[in-house]
Subunit: 246 residues, 2 copies
Amino acid sequence: MSEHMEIADFVPRLRHSISKWKEQVKIKNGLRLRLDFFLGFQSLQPEGFRFHHAESDYVMLVRWLPEDEPDTLPTNASHRVGIGAFVLNGNNEVLVVMEKNGGFKGTEYWKMPTGVVDEGEDIYAAAVREVKEETGIDAEFVEILAFRQSHKSFFSKSDLFFVCMMRPLSSNITAQESEIAASKWMPIKEYVEQPYNKKHGQFQKVAEICRDRAAGAHVGFSAVPVSSASGKEVYLYCNNNKGSKL
Amino acid sequence: MSEHMEIADFVPRLRHSISKWKEQVKIKNGLRLRLDFFLGFQSLQPEGFRFHHAESDYVMLVRWLPEDEPDTLPTNASHRVGIGAFVLNGNNEVLVVMEKNGGFKGTEYWKMPTGVVDEGEDIYAAAVREVKEETGIDAEFVEILAFRQSHKSFFSKSDLFFVCMMRPLSSNITAQESEIAASKWMPIKEYVEQPYNKKHGQFQKVAEICRDRAAGAHVGFSAVPVSSASGKEVYLYCNNNKGSKL
């Protein structure tokens, strides 16, 4: 909606369209509805308010005061954060999954477990949780091997993806039924040499880093607890100079 | 607004309150207005829509279809991303600033230039830009020394802060008038031993990493261009095994 329409006129038209689209099975990735004008915002904008952010059930508006001081309201969140878990066992085997849906469907690619960091969740904790959810394997975080930043991954937002080295604490796999078609321990050589890696520079580089790390020839960032300026315990990820051996 | 009020009734009351607050100089950090209910959303929620995100001038709603497949709409952005620039010259001096406003006001702390990554901006590029803006110094990115994740830094959002090692390409400082009270080159020993660092674990640890890096005894992550699955050039940050010497 880039021009004004009374919501009372709009809703019935939207409802009609959705039911038509459903019948014709045209919609594959949901609907997006951008509201630039609606009754509430039109009334609040002249009062100096702007949107700050929205979550699923609310929208937050802000207005800076006092007017004679520079606006220091923090900017909106700009990045989604994801993790990939490189779980290596004592036999030089990697924990891999084949996904039921998503971007890798149909590629025959055995990938590391991946997922999105939850609200308020630490990166290392997200890696532990995702490995458990997707494969049933208990694992502990060792270090971050690499991370990748990309842009415009959804709307105008950016993405940070952290590759986490993990040590398994169990070995029996129970693949998550809803998302994972199959999961297994795969020799690292076989993992690195998959055709999909060879075709995609980013995947090839990450696979090589994992191979080098398995051989003790790559240094990552450990998670070091430190106290923040406000006294909270936070994690600083850095080379802790303790070497790269597991 | 956690209960329904007609916007036409609300706006005049809000306007009256703001003018009263302005007179009484009560407001120090702006106003926040959370709308859970407004005419547009009340009408769209029954149609299956939820808020996804908002930017300053619009709010985005989404609804998943087809209904018999799992909802794979990407989650909203959860993190703000900031940088700190550790600019070290050939005389083992660090580029430092004293800020006019913000959290360090009144601390007498000489800090590294910091800033927020703009929409669609790479971390290394944000570090180059912020150093130039705050101090007039041209610098090039060398590597990421460490990063820190913290939570609930504003509303329910999290924060990632990357410490970037930089090499200066010029030496004459021109401090930014609006934000920077003073800027200078400071011997690294003096920088590390500031009282503020000793009192705050996170700052102390970062200062020590910078000191170790200056001595060639810390390995960070370089920025390596790789091609993503969709063919875009993106940066992977990792130890490139080329050693830690400048």
